[in-house]
Amino acid sequence: MSEQSTGAVQADEPRPALKRKDNRAWWLVLPVVVSVAFTAVIPLMTVVNFSVQDVFSPVDRVFVGLEWFRSISRDPEVRAALVRTLLFSAQVLLLEIPLGVALAVVMPRRGLGVSVALVLVALPLLIPWNVVGTIWQIFARGDIGLGGWTINNVLGVNFNYTLDSTDAWITVLLMDVWHWTPLVALLAYAGLRSIPEPYFQAAQIDAASAWATFRHIQLPRLRGVLTIAVLLRFMDSFMIYTEPFVVTGGGPGNATSFLSILLSKIAVGQFDVGPAAAFSLLYFLLVQILCYVFFTVLTRSGR
C-alpha cells in the first residue's frame, strides 16, 4: 500500500521502468480462444478421449490404453486402404501438376481470350463435390452416360466401373483430374503472369527454344506456386471422400475404398468410435508429416 502511494506521488516523474503493465488487452483474444476451443480443441480432445477407451454405451466404457492404435496400425484392411490412398495421391499429383502447368502455359496472356480462358478453366472448381460425383456417376455409365456409352459403343472397349475395379479406379482418378487440374492451372497461370517481360525478351535474344524458355525461365519461377499446388492437391486427394463415395461407394469390392471411406465406415457405419478415433488421429498425423516433408523438400531444393 505504501509503495502504491509513493508511486502515485511520483507519478509525474519520468520513470517508465516502474510503470505498471496493463494486461487487459489479452481479454480481446478471448473470443478467438473460446470459439477455437469450442469448435476444434474440445472435439479433438473428445476424439483423443475415445481413442483410448472401449465404448459400449455412453455410460459403459473401459480404458484400453494404446490398444486401438496398435490394432488399427496392424489392420490389413487399413493398410491396404493406406497403400491405395498413397497410390491415388501419387497419381493425382503426377497427372494434375504437369497438366495444370501445361494448361497455364498455353492459356492466352492478353486480349479477350484471357477472361474466356479463365472462366472456362475455373468452371469445374465452382461445382460442389457431391455434384461432381453425381455428374461423373452418370457420365461414366455404360447405358445412359455419354462418356461410358462412347467408350463402350464407339471405341468398342468394355468399360463398366460398377463391376471392374480398374475401370472404377480410372473413373475416380479422371474425375479428380477434371475437377482439380484447373486449380493447379490457375495457380501456375498467376505465377507465369508475374514473370516480367524482359525475361522473355532476353530469352529471344539468347535464341532460346520454347522448351529452353520454359525450362530455364518459367519453371524456376513457378516453384513457389507449385509448392502450394502440390500441398493443396496432396492433402485434398489424400483425404478424398465425397466423390468416390457418390460414384463407387468404395467399390467394387474395396477397389476405391480410400482411407477416408474406410474411416467413415468404421466410425459411422459400425459405430466403433474407439478404433475410429485412433484411426483418425493416425490419419491426421500422417497428413501433417507428409505435408511437412513435401514442404521441406520443395522449398529446400531451390537453394
Partner: protein, 364 residues
C-alpha cells in the same frame, strides 16, 4: 560492328493514332558509343526494341550494313541487349548463364568454353564462374547479363537500356568505366539508353536526344551543351538547365520588355521568340550595361565551388552562375548581359537564330 540504318522507322502501339516513335531516318555508325538520352516515356526503349527485333516497327525498314533485317527475328540479328534490371537464368551458374546463348546456337563445346573464359576474364567474373547467378549482388548480376550479350562472336551492337538503375551509386562509376573499357577493347557499337545526363555525357562519343518520339538533336556532348538546337536539349542537358526568356524581335533587335538584349544574327522574321542562355554564360552586373536586361535578385545558392544567383525578369526566373562569394543581395536590382556567341533564339521550341553584338546601336 555494323552500321545500323533506320529508314523512316516509326512505331505506333495503337494502329497509327499516336506515334510512340515518329518515323525517323538515322544511322548508328559501327564501333561508336552512343548515348540515347531522353525523359521517361519518350520512346527510348521502343527504339531499342526495334533495333534488337523484339518489336517490329509499324513503318520503315532497318538495315545492318547491306542486309535488311526488318522482318528478321531477334535471334537472327546478333544483338546484345541489357535491360534495366538484371535478367538472369537464376538457377544456373554464372558459367552456364554465359554459355547459354552459345549452347542455344549449337556452338561446339571447346569454342563455348573458350568464349566464356574470354568474356569472364574481360568482365572480371573469373572467381564467381561456378556460383549460382542469383546469389550475386545486383551489380555483378548486371555484369553477367552484359556478358551474355558479349559472349557471342560478331555481335552487331550492344544495346543497354538504363543498365545502371539497380546498381548502387558507388558501383556506378566503376561499371561505367568498365563499359567504356570494354567498348575500347572490343569496338562494339554501343547504344546506351539513359535519362541521366551525366551518364550520357561522360559515356558517349555521340549523344542522341530523343523527346516525344522524335530525335531532337544529335552531337558530341560538348556540342549539345554549347549549342542546343532545341529548347528541350537546352533544358534537359546542363544543371541547372538553360534559362529561357520570352522576347520580341522587331527589325533586327531582340527586346525583352523595354530593354534590348542584343541584335539578331542573320535574317529572322519579326515576332515573339525565346532567348535561351545557359546560367554559365549569363553575366550579372550591379550597374546598368548596354545591352542588358534589368532583373531583380531573389536569392543566392552557395554551391561551394560556385554560386547560383536567382533573379527575376518580370515573371521569369533567370539563373546566373557566378564565382563563389558573390555579393548580390536579395531584392537588389541587377542587369543581365547575354553574350552573343552563347545566346540562342528559339521559336516553337526550335532554334531559329542567335544573338549578335549590338555594336552601339539600338539603345534608346
Amino acid at each position: 560492328m555494323a552500321d545500323i540504318r533506320l529508314e523512316g522507322v516509326g512505331h505506333s502501339y495503337d494502329g497509327g493514332r499516336t506515334w510512340a516513335l515518329k518515323p525517323m531516318t538515322w544511322t548508328w555508325r559501327g564501333a561508336r558509343a552512343y548515348a540515347l538520352l531522353g525523359p521517361s516515356g519518350c520512346g527510348k526503349t521502343t527504339l531499342l526494341n526495334i533495333i534488337s527485333g523484339l518489336l517490329t516497327p509499324t513503318v520503315g525498314r532497318i538495315w545492318f550494313d547491306d542486309r535488311e533485317v526488318t522482318g528478321v527475328p531477334t535471334a537472327g540479328r546478333n544483338i546484345a541487349q541489357v535491360f534495366q534490371f538484371p535478367v538472369l537464368y537464376e538457377e544456373m551458374s554464372v558459367y552456364d548463364n554465359l554459355a547459354f546463348p552459345l549452347r542455344n546456337r549449337k556452338v561446339p563445346r571447346q569454342e563455348i568454353d573458350r568464349r566464356v573464359r574470354q568474356v569472364s576474364a574481360l568482365l572480371g567474373l573469373d572467381e564467381v564462374l561456378r556460383r549460382r547467378s542469383r546469389r550475386l549482388d545486383p551489380g555483378r548480376q548486371q555484369i553477367v547479363s552484359l556478358g551474355r550479350g558479349l559472349v557471342r562472336p560478331e555481335v552487331a551492337a550492344v544495346l543497354l537500356d538504363e543498365p545502371l538503375t539497380v546498381v548502387d551509386p558507388a558501383l556506378k562509376w566503376t561499371l561505367r568505366s568498365k563499359l567504356k573499357e570494354i567498348h575500347r577493347d572490343t569496338g562494339h557499337t554501343l547504344v546506351y539508353v539513359t535519362h541521366d545526363q551525366t551518364e550520357a555525357l561522360t559515356f558517349a562519343d555521340e549523344v542522341v536526344v530523343l523527346n516525344d518520339g522524335a530525335i531532337v538533336q544529335t552531337g558530341e556532348p560538348a556540342e549539345l551543351f554549347l549549342s542546343p538546337a532545341h529548347e528541350f536539349v537546352g533544358h534537359f542537358i546542363g544543371s541547372p538547365g538553360m534559362n529561357m526568356l520570352p522576347a520580341e524581335v522587331t527589325g533586327d533587335i531582340v527586346r525583352v520588355g523595354k530593354s534590348t538584349a542584343g541584335a539578331v544574327k542573320g535574317d529572322l522574321p519579326p515576332g515573339p521568340v525565346r532567348i535561351g542562355v545557359r546560367p554559365e554564360f549569363v553575366r550579372i552586373a550591379g550597374e546598368r550595361t548596354s545591352p542588358g536586361v534589368p532583373a531583380r535578385v531573389t536569392g543566392t545558392d552557395r554551391m561551394g565551388a560556385y554560386d547560383l544567383v536567382h533573379t527575376r525578369v518580370g515573371e521569369h526566373q533567370m539563373i546566373a552562375k557566378t564565382e563563389a562569394g558573390s555579393s548580390h543581395e536579395p531584392g537588389a536590382l541587377a542587369f543581365l548581359h547575354f553574350p552573343a556567341e552563347r545566346t540562342f533564339l528559339f521559336r516553337d521550341q526550335v532554334r531559329c537564330g542567335s544573338l549578335a553584338p549590338l555594336n552601339g546601336r539600338g539603345e534608346e
